[in-house]
């Protein structure tokens, strides 16, 4: 939902900075080199199952490079988050430039259920896909 808004808040600006940092790091990241290549998920090491965040690094990596099909195959939710990071950074820049609108997320029970189901579905997808 798009609503009228003033200048971005401190948190909106900070989130834009975090998004830019994450996307920049993902762009400069070689996946097959240490230390990232040496990192292992503790949850996966302990249980043999991927955690809900597994595949997010690779999804960010491929999403930044525009290879969305590969990104989606690793983690659809992380791909969406990467896209949201980019969109938020761009939108914040536009708001700083004077755009008087901002997206507004409603905290409704339906939205909560959708988020929970999306998180669970992504976890199931990552577990079934098993591409890590």
């Amino acid at each position: 939902m798009i609503a009228r808004a003033g200048r971005p808040s401190v948190h909106a600006l900070a989130f834009a900075g975090v998004a830019i940092l994450l996307l920049a790091a993902a762009a400069a990241l070689p996946l097959d080199a240490p230390p990232l290549a040496l990192l292992a998920c503790p949850f996966r090491a302990a249980t043999g199952l991927p955690c809900p965040g597994c595949g997010a690094t690779r999804a960010f990596h491929y999403a930044v490079r525009g290879r969305f099909s590969e990104a989606l195959s690793f983690s659809p939710l992380a791909t969406l988050v990467a896209a949201a990071c980019g969109a938020h950074a761009v939108w914040t820049a536009l708001r700083l430039a004077g755009l008087p609108f901002a997206p507004r997320l409603e905290n409704t029970p339906r939205a909560r259920w959708v988020a929970a189901i999306a998180l669970l579905a992504n976890w199931i997808f990552v577990s079934v896909q098993g591409r890590m």
């Binding site: 401190v10 900070a14 240490p34 230390p35």
Partner: protein, 486 residues
Amino acid sequence: MLLWPGAFVAVWLEVASVFALGPLVTPLWLEPDWSVVEAVPVLAAPVLLVCDELLAGVPEDWLVSVPWFDAVAAPLEGWLLMDPLVEPCAFVSVPVALFALLAVEVVAVPCAFACVPAVEPVVSTVPDVPSFDEVRVLLLLLLQPKTSAATSARPYAYFISCLLRDFSRRFLWGRRTKRREIPGCFAEVGIAPPPRKLLGRPACPAVDVLEGAVLARCPSCRNTFSTDRPGRQDCPVCGKPLVVPEPPAAQPTPGDLAPEPAGTPWERRAELGFFTAWMQTLQQALLEPGKLFASARLDRGAAQLGFAVLNTSVFWALGQLLERPLLMGQRDQLRRILEGMSGNPDVAPVVQRLLEAQLQASSPSWVVALALLTPVFTFLLLYVNAALTHGIAVILGQAKRGFPATFAACAYACAPLALLAVPACGSIVGLIWLVALNAVGMKVTHRISTTGAAASVLAPYFVLCCLMLAAFGTLTLALRRAVGQP
């Protein structure tokens, strides 16, 4: 009390001795009237005060060694105030004094006491207080014929509710329970008209309780109910469709009516001073976290971010400086081991590169670069942590006051990272403390339950375990490339 029978046996023996000795003894306070004494053939205590002049001519050893003395002294041990060998004049018996005053009373009173059996005294007890159930049943019986008159039953119901509340408090061992009541209404009695139950509809809890954002009244059944959303919906009581209008934007909510907190010491550093505000905030975060989070203002996100970044960066850098000299020997030993392993061709190339990275990480240039980038890492991880915590809180329905409240909790929860200055174990303790403090902060800032706060805080770490490592590794690699290392 058990001494009484034995004492009066001794009195009998003393009487016999008096008859045998004649005027050898005399009372201290009365002139002896032996005619009266001899004329009373009843139980009478002897006059046992021995005067010196009356003892003239009587050998002292005879006085203290005669059989009557032993027979009297043995049962009366502890009862008679006597020490004849040292002070013969102190040979005093209290019952004897009573006898000397009034013979009838002396006879009557000991006889009455002698009739008392020599048993253990029974401690008198307070009559049993009626139990709680008895009181409740009694009050319910009182209340029963008056149920039709709610006004007359109100005092009884109030008393019962107080009893029940006290009982439930004891049963719950002091745990507070959520009060389901309408704000501003009389909630002690809890007499409320029950919702009408319709056939075929499941029983629902009392609907006139403000659990959602809006308290609405059905135009059909006139019952009130709370709802989370405005718009078209069905009445939970009668089931008829209705439209809940949107509340006016300018209408103040109960949260807005609450007094604005004064702010944490760090948020008031302009008036307290920089260092004082920092130390007080640190002290409150570590020792009085509830007070700190309750005083946090949600519109001071920049100040909270500054506290977290500054606190973490300073103490991390301080820890690095302290750790290098303290753990230098251990690092040198590890370095020698790694150098030996790096030359081994059997070690996998990936492991060799890891060992090389470990060796490079201990170089001074690397440490300085990490110290300079610590604020960036802190900023990044703080916001990632806050975003994930808030996301989980939203999914669980615990985000009552928006992202600023979550951010305040996460930012001030970085206070235990001051333990990063402690070499070796400081980081582990600090991280565990951070998680606990984060939960406390979520509970206070969002005004949610302990369970909801714990779930909101612990779930992101479950999700974050991979993302945090990946982010740290990414930035580490980027830094290595920036300084020109492969």
